[in-house]
Structures are given as C-alpha cells and as structure tokens.
Symmetry: C2
Subunit: 322 residues, 2 copies
C-alpha cells in the first residue's frame, strides 16, 4: 500500500481489503489478462477514489461488506480510464513502471481497459442502487467527453481558464465527487449530506488536478513517478501555461508553441516562460482557492471521527509533492 | 434501414424506432462525438441484436416502452465493441465506409467506444433488472477475453476447432444469446422460455459467425462491405483454414503461413489450399449443424406469430450472401 496512508491506519487497513477484492475480480482464464492486471493492482498508487468512498461512508452506517466492493469497483473504473488514457497520451511510464500500452501494445490496452470496465460494472451492479449506477455511467460518459475535448484542443493557444476548468471537472473532479457521494449515499447518510460530501469531493478534485498539472512543471521525476512536462510534449496546455499566455502574448513563445514536436530546449524555454510570467504562482493560488472551498464545506460538517480523517487526508493530499 | 428487413415490416418498424432512440443517446455537447456516432447509427447494418431482443420479447407481454430502449442499449454495446475491434484489426472499412479508427485515428476510437459503453449502461440501468445487468457485464467481459484470446493466437498453426468454437462463442454467440434471453425475460416470458430462446440465440450466433468467416474467403467484396481475406491478413485463422490444416499438414503452406506479412499472391495460395482441402465445405457443414440445432429448438416452441418471424429471420440470416 502506498506510503500516503501510513499516518492513517484505519483507512489503510480497509484499502488493503479493497486490493484483495480487486485481485479476485481481475482474474481471468486468460493468463495474460490476469498477470497484467494483478501487476497493475499491486502497483495501484494512492487509491484516492476508493479511500474517498470509505471515508465518506463512515459518515453513515458503515457496512464493510457493501462499501469495500463498491470502493473496489470505483477504483477499477478509474484504472480502466488510465489504461485507455495512456493509449491516447502514448505514455510510456506510469507509477514508475511501463504502461500496458508501452509494454504490450495499444491493441491489448484497448481490451484490457474494456475488461476492467465490464468487471467494474459487474461489481457495481451488486453493490449500488440503480439511480447511483446511472450516476456512475454518466460520470464515465463525462470522462470520455473530457478526454476527447482535451484531445481536440491540443496545441490550441487560445484555450481559456474556463475551458481548462471544464475539462478537469470532467476528467478528474466528477469521479472524486461521485466517490464521496455514493459512499455516503450507500451508507444511508441521506441525500443532503451525500450532496455536501459530493461537493467537497468536487472541490478536492479540482484542486488536486491543478496541483498535478503544476507538478508536471515543477516536480521531480523520481518522486512524481512519470516523466515531467509530459502535458506540453503532448500539446496539452494546462493552467500554468494558460495563465502565462493570458498575461503575455510573447510572439516568440507563441510561434515556438505553434511549431509542435518540441525538442528538450523548446520545453525548457516554455517552462522558463511559464515561471517568468507567474504561471506557477497563479495556478497555486487557484488550487488554494478550491482547497479553501473544500475546507469551508468540511467545516460545516458535525464533528466526528470521519470528519477528522477527511481533514487529515485533504490537508496531506493538497500539500503534497508526489 | 438495411434491406434485410424489407420482408419483415413488423420488425423493421420497431428497428426504425430503435435507431431514433440511439440517435438521442449518442448526442453530446462535443460536436465531433455526435457527428461520428450519428454517422455510425445511420449506417447501422442489419441490427440483428436489437431485432433479436424485439422478436424474443414478442413471445411475452411486449411492452415497447421498455423493450425498444433495451434493444437500443444492446446495439450500442455491440457498436462499442466494433469501434474497439477495428482498432485491433487496423480495419479501414466497415459497412462500406471508413472505420472511426481509420478516419479519426485510434485515439478517438478508444474514447468513442468508451462513450458508447457508458451510454449503453446508462440506458440499460433504466430498462433492465439487476440480475440481467450483471449478465450483460459478464458478456462484455467475455467478449473482451475472446478478443484478447484471438489476438494472442494469431499466426498459431496449431489452433483447434475447439479453440475456434470457444472464441466465436465469446465474441459473437454470447451476445446473440443474451439478446434473446433479456428480450424474453424482460417481457415476463419466465426463466424457462427465456433460457430456450437464449440457447436458440447461441446456436444462431455460432452458425452466423461460421458463415461470416466463410464469406471472408468466398464472398464478394462489394456485397460483404469489407475487404476479403481480412482475417488471414491479420493472422486470424478461422474455421476453413483450421479444417484444411487439420486434414493436410502441407509443409510448403505451413512455412508460407509461418512467414507472416502475406502478399496478395500468398493470400491466393492460402485460399486455394483451403478450397482444395475442403475447408469451405466442411465449415458449411458445421454451420448447418448449428443451424439445425437452432431450428430444432425453435420447433419446440408453441406456434405463434413471433415463432413464424423467428423462423423467417433465421432462415434468411443463415442462407445469406452478405
């Protein structure tokens, strides 16, 4: 289990169980499918989404037998989108290991992702009510649309902060929000509390993705676990660059950006441009704004043990370097 | 609507409604997604699976409001697998038009397929009970596994008839069976009749896929709507070749087959080998065996208008040239 959870043994123990459930669910009579997916489950990162399902469920009548499979299903859905994302991004490395598309080819990656989707829906069908299953399907549609929007707007120097926020809402915050919402709802927290928790998840998700995008500029490769400046290389312009271009329509940089297929020196020039024009600082301020929104909503919740866990996790998550 | 249904106006009219439902469901605020999918829906082939849902449902208390969306969802699921199949197969043409992966690239095709999956599950959630939703998820897993099995066994000259039958059961017959089963079940036919209809669907599916694989050798390109001998080119060995290799381990042919990357002349030699060794005739006999199994089971059903439709459709389908 990722060291992120070392300070939070209550959540960590539950996530260990979630991993066990996932291991059962990715087994197939095709040995290669099993091997690839067991590898992926064994290297499953922070497992934020299942953790959110669990933490949120603890605000209600926590029933492990129901909540842990639900958490596993949500993580498998996320894994499916990662496998397919890596095809689009031509990503070679994720979580410090070769991606499925890099190691086995795009062909396998397509159906490995589909297999995960279907196994996730199979597990969901048993552990969620129909209205929530529909919400999950809608979020998956939204993620797909977000990915296609992002793909279409590559190399677009006119992308706005609003476009960016819409895109990360779809590709990240929607599933964060859903994880909180279904955890609470399926623990009988009631619609009102489930919605508040969902909205906390949404704000955490936006802040988290902005920080992730900042780390693509400022992080250390060995700590982040994937190559830096990957977004720029793919023509995906994120908040730091969008802010900088908004402040300074430097002609040289714009013609460099329009050129595409950047060499290492181009990347360095773009990063320098972003740093000189306050793109990182401005992005951090926006991340803090969403972090504050999340904490303001958390503050509205009644004091309770899960509230304290939520405060701890959110604090750690949004002040991270990996 | 495909001319296949011109003799069967009752089914045709329902399928026209199914197309309308699909058109609503593939709309997205991303114009490209909508355009691509509307094109695909407008060129939707024979729509066998939704037709099976409808015909099977007519054996029970037929409720259009429930059955037509269900039929649309099953077809969208099938469309999703086609979009992803074409990525694996590098297919350029399907239904006489460029495939999504050929026209827009593999990147788009991945998420367009995922979008269809999620929209299908969204529609299913409203029109099916949980037990059947699980069955659908299982069939999708099975299709994925079948595709991966097929991909792994490319260029394998030792593939057996049993391997082949398992593969086509997963990739084709399972969804045929499910279409019949859920149509009947959701029309309150009762478990027993639903299972008989499901098993009719299974046998039709096996026969259908064998015929499809024969047509890849013997059809006319303009009639079939996709390039011929596509399976061999991809290293996918189907029943005609498997039978022929079982009968004659011709060393020259085996070394030719092992060479991979066949030129047109190689393809002609393999096709000639298959014809000379009775691969087509033997395959036709096996298709007829499954066709007979399907008709034997249909004969067990009480005489009724949907039984007559089923006989007509099965007869036409299994004696087709496109």
């Amino acid at each position: 289990m990722d060291k992120f959870w070392n300070d939070n043994l209550e959540v960590k123990e539950e996530l260990v169980e979630v991993v066990k459930i996932m291991k059962k669910r990715v087994k197939s009579s095709n040995k290669l499918i099993s091997d690839i997916l067991l590898d992926m489950v064994n290297n499953s990162g922070k497992m934020l989404r299942p953790a959110f399902v669990i933490i949120s469920a603890k605000f209600g009548n926590y029933d492990r037998k129901k909540i842990l499979p639900l958490a596993a299903a949500i993580e498998m859905l996320h894994m499916a989108t990662l496998v397919h994302d890596d095809i689009i991004d031509n990503a070679l490395i994720r979580r410090s290991k070769p991606t499925i598309q890099a190691e086995y080819g795009k062909d396998y990656a397509v159906f490995i992702g589909d297999f995960l989707f279907s196994q996730s829906f199979l597990l969901l069908s048993d552990n969620i009510n129909v209205a929530n299953l529909k919400k999950v399907s809608k979020v998956v549609s939204r993620i797909c649309k977000g990915e296609i929007d992002q793909f279409e707007s590559r190399y677009d120097i006119n992308i706005t902060i609003n476009d960016y926020l819409k895109r990360i809402a779809a590709k990240t915050a929607a599933l964060f929000a859903l994880s909180f919402y279904v955890g609470a709802y399926e623990s009988n927290c009631g619609e009102e509390l489930a919605k508040i928790l969902g909205s906390i998840g949404y704000n955490i998700g936006i802040a988290f993705q902005i920080i992730d995008d900042i780390l693509d500029y400022t992080g250390e490769e060995s700590v982040v676990g994937k190559p830096l400046c990957n977004d720029i290389r793919q023509g995906v312009f994120t908040l730091p660059l969008i802010y900088s271009l908004e402040r300074n329509r430097d002609e040289k940089i714009i013609s460099l950006i329009k050129k595409r297929n950047y060499c290492e020196d181009d990347i360095k020039r773009i990063v320098a441009f972003v740093q000189q024009n306050g793109g990182i600082t401005q992005s951090k301020m926006l991340a803090e704004k969403y972090t504050k929104k999340a904490f303001d909503k958390i503050a509205m919740l009644k004091d309770s043990p899960p509230k304290q866990i939520l405060i701890d996790v959110t604090t750690k998550l949004l002040y991270r370097n990996y």
